[in-house]
């Protein structure tokens, strides 16, 4: 059925921006891991990007309506896998969230994001009313809550939280009675309180507390934030140059190739580099928004906007963490942070966006 789809019709600006971001990521990973035991990470990351491109291309060929049609099937498969991970998953970096064989380990919760996007798009498209009603909120909220709770149990609060903006943007676009906003305004704080009291692990509480007062615990997550801020500040306007950042190079910056990669970038490329990089991310978002606006149907729009919301949330939380405006949650920076699951899952989503775009040319 691919006869009406042409490679020429792919979103080339989106691809260029994406590859620029990925290239900067690979460069930064190279610089940050030089001389450490991760010094092979940069070319691994490059391989992941190539694999990501392939996946993107494949997904772009698939009619997104087919995927939407299987949304519930995918959803139940995801929930089942997440339950399975809790029992047979591999424990790495303090959480049981990895599944795989041999040296390949995938973080399932990363791919569940795509499923959630599909789920929300499907549900919203099927709405018969012009706005989201209470029972829809409960139904959809419940559907999203199940994988969320399973991921929280891993425990991986950060990733679990990334499912929320997808839900939120879906509701926003579908439309919501203002009364519900008020109700949410009451329920949400209550949920936060109950969650704090019974739901959060001690280290999660510590993270939140250190976010509010980084000086309190200089060796723990507060220490990470302090070192990250030092790295960013020391980068000044023009940066200290690739492989010249002392915070990055001498190991003061924690995990400079994964969660704190933007901190390392800011140290070595300065404020100018940061503005350029944030500009690229902004263009990426706007390019996806444009795809949403030009989507052939509601479901396509919901898909693109879901991807967009997820990206924006990741960027806000990760980069906000780097400058100390957001708590340390351990969620990666899309397309830059080292990690196969991160790269592949975002390329998967970009594949979806391209699929939506390509559908416009079907006639």
């Amino acid at each position: 059925m691919a006869h009406y789809r042409s490679i020429r019709d792919l979103d080339w600006p989106l691809l260029v921006i994406t590859l620029l971001i990925c290239a900067m990521g690979v460069l930064q990973i190279y610089s940050a891991t030089r001389g450490t035991k991760y010094d092979d990470a940069w070319w691994k990351q490059a391989l992941w990007v190539l694999a990501g491109l392939l996946i993107m291309w494949i997904v772009a060929q698939i009619d997104y309506h087919t995927l939407l049609g299987q949304a519930y099937v995918l959803y139940f498969l995801s929930v089942a896998s997440l339950v399975l991970v809790l029992f047979i998953g591999t424990t790495r970096f303090g959480g049981r969230r990895w599944i795989g064989y041999g040296s390949f380990h995938f973080q399932l919760s990363e791919f569940v994001k795509t499923v959630i996007i599909l789920l929300v798009a499907r549900y919203m498209t099927e709405l018969k009313t012009d706005r989201v009603e209470g029972r829809d909120l409960l139904k959809l909220g419940g559907l999203v809550a199940v994988p969320m709770l399973l991921v929280v149990k891993q425990p991986d609060l950060g990733t679990a939280l990334t499912y929320l903006p997808i839900l939120a943007v879906g509701i926003l676009l579908a439309g919501l009675r203002w009364q519900y906003l008020v109700v949410l305004g009451v329920i949400l704080p209550l949920a936060v309180f109950v969650g704090w009291r019974y739901g959060l692990k001690d280290y999660q509480k510590t993270r939140l507390v250190t976010f509010l007062d980084p000086g309190q615990d200089p060796q723990g997550s507060g220490y990470q934030v302090i070192q990250s801020r030092i790295a960013v500040g020391a980068g000044r306007l023009w940066g200290r140059g690739v492989t010249k950042g002392t915070q990055t190079q001498y190991g003061f910056l924690p995990v400079p190739h994964t969660d704190f990669i933007f901190s390392a970038f800011a140290e070595e490329h300065g404020f100018v580099g940061v503005v350029v990089m944030l500009g690229l991310y902004f263009l990426l978002l706007m390019q996806i928004v444009q795809n949403a606006q030009m989507a052939p149907d509601r479901s396509g729009m919901y898909l693109c906007m879901g991807v967009c919301a997820l990206l924006l949330f990741h960027i806000l939380v990760n980069i906000g963490m780097v400058v100390g405006s957001m708590p340390v949650t351990g969620i990666p920076l899309p397309l830059m942070s080292y990690g196969g699951s991160n790269i592949l899952s975002f390329f998967l989503m970009l594949g979806l966006v391209n699929s939506v775009r390509l559908w416009r040319f079907v006639s």
Partner: protein, 645 residues
Amino acid sequence: MSFPLPEHRAEHLPSKPLLRDDTKFASAKIAFFQYLAVGIFLFLIAGFWTLQVRDPEIYTEAADRNRIKFVPLLAPRGKILDRDGRVIVDNRSSYSLMLAREHLRPEHVRPIALGLGLDADQLEARVKRFQSRPKYENIFIKNELTRGEVSFVEAHRDLDTFPELELIRAQRRLYPQNGLAAHVIGYVGEISESELNLPEFIKYDQGAVIGKAGLEREYNDQLMGVDGQIQVVVDNHGTVRNSLGIKEAVPGKNLQLTLDLDLQVVAELGMEDKTGAVVALDPRNGEVLAMVSTPAYDPNKFAGRIRSADWNELRNNPDNPLLHRAIQAQLAPGSTFKPFVALAGLESGAIDETFKVHCAGGASFYGRYFKCHVKAGHGSVDLHKGITQSCDVFFYNVAIRAGIDNIAKYAEMAGFGHKTGIDLPNEMQGVVPSSEWKMRNFRQKWWAGETVSVGIGQGPVTVTPIQLAYAIGGLAMGGVWYQPHLVKDPAKAGKPRLGQIDPANAQKIVYGMYGVVNEYGTGTRARLPGISVCGKTGSAQRVSNDAVKAGLVPKMKDNAWFVAFAPCEAPEIVVSVLWEGGEHGPNAAPIARDVLKAYFDKKARQTREGFVAEVKRSEPRFGLLPPPAAAPPPDQSPAAEADPD
């Protein structure tokens, strides 16, 4: 623009028809999303603006603080050499441990103390004391680290464990074994809290290792170098990655002493197992050739931080090993004081060569009987016989004739009652009694009867071994006194102090002292073949006979003194020996003799080998004396040996 969906996909889709235009319904909300994104990006950029553009200095500094460390390079102290350049005090390298207070976390103090076997409470108290000090001042917590302690530090100094641990290579003092010249050299130690405030040490910081006693203290500024500093870049494990700059340490200057190790060793051996002191001087320039005080201590125990058990043992030892007897023991000189009584008699005109006294084993003065040490008496005694046989009755008479103030005048002229000014800290000055002295100290008039005891070096008069050597040396030179000094420096010899005395009178006394050794005198055990040794014995009571009789104090053995110089006609060396509890002066004579022998043996050897010593020297005022009249062989004077002094 709307057209129906293709038929074939209808079954996948929800029942509600989808239209292309349908997406427009959300355009306002998408716009809202775009504004939200813009807002978030501006918020993020603002964060970077604050850190990177508005006030980056704080963070640049913080980054530098993270990675740049200042490691002190401790300057080695100068070595201490003997007069021939042989090393007496050397250095060896060792490790010291500091706590970098910039990185110090209070809860680490206890585990660190445990790991290094330190007293945790004591360490915590020390850390607390530093709280008000600036952060860059580090705390030295341990010197002389063992291999195991060094590896403990190496293993735990990373950023995650104890980043405050800072290992420093230091040069430690290595002193001679067995306390050789211990009192002269002194020792070093970490500056104490109270010493920090002394003007002497005002320029040193805490943690500095300073000289605490002896030459180490006297010449601390010269021996101590200037510490350098190295600026290094470290990573989060504290591993040095590269160095930014280095300010080399300036090592301390070496100190060459006038001490002669050969003589020092001989003197030390002579004093083995004895309590007392030996001082050997060159009377021609004041150079100290040997200086011993026993019992000694091991200065190596002080290097760094002395263990309190060792310190208490030293302090509570009844023999007081910390006392530098050569310059601090103030004791009655006994008969070694007689030459100066004779000098006072001759100079004041109270007596002359023809003055004679009959000794019947004692005599009464001012209603009290004073014994001579020879019960049978010396018979008719003149000045020469008085000195050689050390007749007490003769000197009682001389003292009474000369009077206490004349004795005081000439004793002080010879150097008693004043510090010699030797380059050592805490020298004592002794006591030369006079009527003015008694009035000043006791608000009493001098009692004429007291003069009698002073005539034989008893009563209130006290001297130190260095004073005795100095005084006799100057007298032997005909009244020329060079300030004693330990550091080999021509400037130190300086100008001699010239006594207002007639050299001819000094010569008469020197002849008497020649007789002490070479005629039928009390010091024949100091005789050396081929060398014209002069000397004077002394046996000084430590407690008065009256007090012993009254049962107030136990009887104590007398102190034995001996002072000698040679050669008689042109003295090159003067030796004073104090043996506390040695009973009889003649017992001390062999110790002095051995030092003299070592000196002349070495000189003979050097002359044979063509060694030319460059010594600034001056000749005696009275020129070369003719060799004294042929002395009778020693075995012809049995009386002197039988009951000497």
